[in-house]
Amino acid sequence: MNLKGRVHKYGCNVDTDVIIPARYLNTSDSAELAAHCMEDIDADFVKNVQPGDIMVADENFGCGSSREHAPIAIKESGISCVIAKTFARIFYRNAINIGLPILQCPEAVDGISANDTVEVDTSTGKITNITTGKSWDAMPFPEFMQQLIEAGGLIPYAQKKIASGGGPKCGCKCCGK
């Protein structure tokens, strides 16, 4: 998949409380969450973001809480992909699970500035800064995670497993097992 957009750039340790503050966690509605995305560190983000834009951040992106509302808010805001030097582990899982493309590439982060236009090929991991002409290769995903991503996230993967009889055999009537 080819993605292309303008860059919103952030520093180290962007935590899930600033991505989506807890005061908005009384809903699971994607659009409501997106309306407050990044509000506490970048009040203009929601006004400025355009569909397809790319978020670039330094180390430990998405640290803190396990709230899946964070990657959901980012995805729903129109961001097509997040590139960071490193991701906090729960955010990393959540992004893969909900189908938000993420790429780990420290060199690219250092070579990209706010408002640059960047192109990403998610199948090869190639990141190109259209503004400067430089390009990089992101760290490849382990094979199992690549399969999850190709399946469209964790739920289609679980669906397949259950449909093929690989689900739990709990012995209750509804399962018929």
Partner: protein, 424 residues
């Protein structure tokens, strides 16, 4: 080649004799949990898996502890979604308001998490249960939804970092100070993707409450799990609560670690983490004059009876400073009741504190004690991110119950020793 306790537990849950760091495994789960913020999405995703039933009615815990007692209509809807799901699928461990407590204190206290278990929870502080020798880690809602259906999940086996604590603990120094100090040393991503194994003579003598506090904050260093091998202190806690069989694991002497970090506790003072990261720690003597508007004692980090006893010891016969609000929230109903029986609640109310029903509310700026613009709080909670307890221009300083209680009386961050001769 020897294995760490974390590797042994994960191997046992994926049907292997041994696993190696970096290996991707699918592990069977002994307990999966969610709260009122994360469960509604998990329940939706569970439905999307096409499952007709949950993998095990007794191995799912649904704990509405965050925005409860429901702070608004939307929060009430979220708890209703959980309640109806629990009824429909026969989930036995749904905890109703009045019986609920903060999940990471409630579940081990109820004997639902035991040594050797593999646990995931849609809450980042699920790593708390490592204190009883379980492998437990936080995940998101979709992971929980799939796990409620399949009873298993995938893990990348983490590398382990061994922390060895030795020396004698100084006065007023406990588990909270040890973990804040550790995070201050290695940083908020110092243990990213890794298992944090806490060992050494200091840990061997540390009470369970302090061990829970330490493992609880492993996530604040980016850790996948925190873990302490079970010993006599663990067994005393577990035996009184366990209703099922369990297995105890320990690291081999030749287990492989990514890093071994030695910590001399005799040099550690009570710690305070400054805004806006838990790694911004300073020893209490270097804090300076930090005037506070609020002090918060409680949460999954420090809401146990031992924490309340320390707070009461400091507050007894004293008054909360006229410019400070002190909010104390016991972590579970049983702890609340015990605090009443021991006379701790009398001490708190006499001092001028507000004592709240168990809830996560204040810790994450949800309700029961949000901060206004420019306000400053000292808290025994776990995070001091921008806007964590309310307004994005408010500040949170993390500390132990002893320091939070003393600060409430002083009106600024300070030590219980400064109160000597001032009442009490």
């Amino acid at each position: 080649m020897g294995q760490t306790i974390t590797e042994k537990i994960l191997a046992a849950h994926c049907g292997k004799k041994a696993v190696e760091p970096g290996e991707l495994i699918t592990a069977k789960l002994d307990l999966v949990l969610g709260n009122d913020i994360t469960s509604p999405i998990a329940i939706r995703e569970f439905g999307n898996t096409g499952a007709n039933c949950v993998f095990n009615k007794e191995k799912i815990a649904l704990v509405p502890d965050h925005s409860t007692p429901a702070k608004d209509i939307k929060s009430a809807q979220q708890v209703k979604t959980m309640r109806e799901f629990a009824k429909k699928y026969g989930v036995t461990n749904f905890f109703e308001i009045g019986r609920v407590g903060i999940e990471h204190t409630l579940l081990p206290d109820e004997g639902l998490v035991l040594p050797g278990y593999a646990v995931i929870g849609a809450d980042s502080h699920t790593c708390t249960y490592g204190a009883i020798g379980a492998f437990s880690t936080g995940v998101g809602s979709t992971d929980l939804g799939a796990a409620m259906s399949l009873g298993e999940t995938w893990f990348r086996v983490p590398e382990s970092i061994k922390f060895v604590y030795h020396g004698k603990l100084n006065k007023w120094v406990g588990g909270k100070d040890l973990i804040l100090y550790t995070i201050g040393q290695i940083g908020v991503d110092g243990a990213l993707y890794c298992s944090m194994e806490f060992t050494g003579e200091v840990i061997e003598n540390l009470p369970m409450a302090d061990r829970f506090t330490m493992c609880n904050m492993a996530i604040e260093a980016g850790g996948k799990n925190g873990i302490i091998a079970p010993d006599d202190i663990t067994m005393e806690y577990v035996r009184a609560r366990a209703k099922r069989d369990f297995k105890v694991y320990a690291s081999d002497s030749d287990a492989k670690y990514k890093q071994v970090i030695d910590i001399d506790c005799s040099k550690i003072e009570p710690q305070v983490a400054f805004p806006h990261l838990p790694e911004n720690t300073k020893p209490l003597s270097k804090v300076g004059n930090v005037v506070i508007d609020q002090s918060v004692i409680g949460s999954c980090t420090n809401g146990r009876i031992e924490d309340l006893r320390v707070a009461a010891q400091v507050l007894k016969g004293r008054r909360v400073h006229q410019d400070v609000r002190l909010i104390i929230f016991p972590a579970t109903q049983k702890i609340y009741m015990q605090a009443i029986h021991e006379g701790l609640v009398d001490v708190f109310v006499d001092a001028g504190a507000a004592v709240s029903t168990p809830t996560c509310g204040p810790c994450l700026g949800g309700h029961m004690g949000c901060l206004a613009e420019g306000e400053r709080a000292v808290a025994t909670t776990n995070r001091n991110f921008v806007g964590r307890m309310g307004h994005p221009k408010s500040e949170v300083y993390l500390a132990s119950p002893a320091v939070a209680a003393a600060s409430a009386v002083l009106g600024r961050i300070g030590s219980p020793d400064e109160l000597e001769g001032k009442g009490g």
